[in-house]
Amino acid sequence: MAPRGRRTLTPAPTRMLPPSPASPPLVDLPLLDVHAHFHTPASNRSDWQRYNDARLEAGDRIGVRCHVASVLGSWGATSPTYFTSPRDQSAANRWMLDFADQHGPRVRAYVAVNPNFTAHALAEITRGVADGAVGIKLAAGRKADDALLDDIAAAAAEHDLPVLQHVWQHRQREWPGQDASDAVELARLAARHPRTRFLLAHIGGGGDYAHTFPAMQPFPNLVCDLSGSGIDRGMLDAALGGVGARRLLWAADLTLCTALTKWRALAHTGADAEALADIAWRNAVRLFPAGTFDAVLGDVRPPREDA
């Protein structure tokens, strides 16, 4: 990635980890984790650096080539995780972009925004793009089908960035702490913005995933990630049957253990080698801006351009 203008930086972790593990990775295909998070000194936890190191170390052990990550404000310390204040979110984005800078191609950054503050969100996106952000993260500050998200979706298309949207699978009621959306609501946004690519978050992250796949199906600009702590048997089969391997992206979110489990289980779903490569990395290459992962995928052939 080209050098960027320097920003006012939050101090970065002092303990840098080796770029590659001593032993071969557990997964023999390159993996791109398109739903990752890191913590910062502003997070409400004293072990933020241990957490970040653990994520990178476990990623190395599994075979993750790149973590595409976001920071949601102060993670609740000074404003709520899913309703971040503009000040907290700006600081979080600055930290995340700097962290990605320090780790080179091993970490890429989403710019996270709270759509309730549209002007701030658009300015963050512009600044994030200039500083190397490769996607936009929308958490749960506003329902996905709200008109407030239209300007953000349009900006994503303008900058050629995908939008990762936090989703509660089949949200039948409101849940505390978030203004969560489900696939039907995100699909409405996807229908209004056919040029924008949307990544529906964590089918294992809570709620009923069986409702998600038929809701996604008619909208080709809507794909989903497999992350989340949920590891129901039948989830992967339903995803493959519901939207197909070309619309599924491997990811971890908060639990790398369940991500490894899902990867291992995929081999027993009947998915062939092409489908596994799509899920592991090729769909991510198609979703993110051209060249995002070139530096970590030099040893594998690029996906076909008929994607």
């Binding site: 476990a58 699978q169 009923d208 048997r233 992967l236 253990c257 490894l260």
Partner: protein, 285 residues
């Protein structure tokens, strides 16, 4: 009780025995291939040496007797691999006969579902069951949940088993009954573990399938604090992906992996042996 079907592979005598599996359907969603023959193939594929197997539909019935009969029949062709864990409901008339039948059938454990039966933390029947299981050398297996709270069907309103119930269960029975807690996360495990005396801690095990690995590293923390010998292998078939326990172990940090090399994780075999060895021995706790 070691018969097997000609089609079943031979179980390894040293491979871990899974302590949490079921056969049969689940009332709130489709679970693929919940039949015993498939479970045997999966256990062999994943390097496990057998499984403690309960009746999944029976957990939702009022009277567990018919489900237990079905369970014994379903597992009979696969007994080299699949060890029955019948349900014993201690507030049901003549529940002692169900426990006696479990012993006759060679069951290593019996299963309880207190929240689905409306049995509170201090229900006397729970103490009676714990005492009887201690006398019989049978482990009590207690799943605290079947699904994540966030995805439960509206009719699945029983709620999770509480730490208070589990502490009471372990403390009871005059110190002889072994208890396996299935489906707990770090918080519940610690709330039980640190609420027990050293002697009481020696009769509880935790199936670690629901504990989080990195980057939170709850599993590594529990390996360090609770110890590998209290954490048991499980598959959670047919509800969850069976690869999870292995993934958690594979992702342990180096220090925790070294600890495992010196002290193995628990499994059905080691738990059954410990419980039987304690049979008839008064508690020091």
């Amino acid at each position: 009780m070691t018969s097997g079907t000609p089609g079943d592979p031979k179980p390894s005598p040293t491979a871990p025995i899974d302590v949490t599996a079921w056969v049969g359907s689940y009332p709130f969603r489709e679970v693929p291939h919940p039949e015993p023959a498939t479970l045997v193939q999966v256990l062999a594929r994943e390097g496990l040496g057998g499984a403690w197997v309960g009746s999944l539909p029976g957990a939702f019935h009022r009277d567990p007797l018919p489900a237990n009969r079905t369970l014994y029949q379903a597992l009979a062709p696969h007994r080299a691999w699949l060890h029955p864990v019948p349900i014993v409901r201690p507030d049901w008339p003549h529940w002692e006969r169900q426990l006696a039948e479990a012993v006759t059938e060679g069951a290593p454990a019996v299963s309880v579902h207190p929240t689905r039966w409306g049995l509170g933390d201090g229900h006397a029947a729970v103490d009676d069951l714990a005492h009887a299981c201690g006398e019989a050398g049978v482990v009590i297996h207690c799943p605290v949940r079947f699904e994540d709270l966030r995805q439960r069907h509206r009719l699945d309103s029983a709620g999770d088993v509480s730490a208070a119930f589990l502490r009471r269960l372990v403390r009871g029975a005059e110190g002889r009954a072994g208890v396996v807690v299935a489906g707990a996360g770090r918080e519940l495990i610690e709330e039980v573990w640190w609420g027990l005396t050293l002697a009481e801690q020696q009769r509880v095990w935790f199936d670690f399938h629901w504990v989080w690995g990195p980057p939170e590293d709850h599993f590594a923390h529990l390996v360090e604090t609770v110890g590998p010998g209290r954490l048991a292998w499980s598959s959670w078939w047919p509800l969850r992906l069976v690869q999870q326990a292995g993934a958690l172990v594979d992702l342990l940090p180096v220090a925790a992996r070294r600890r495992l090399a010196a002290e193995p994780l628990a499994d059905g075999r080691s738990i059954q042996a410990a419980t039987q060895a304690r049979r008839g021995v008064p508690s020091a706790g």
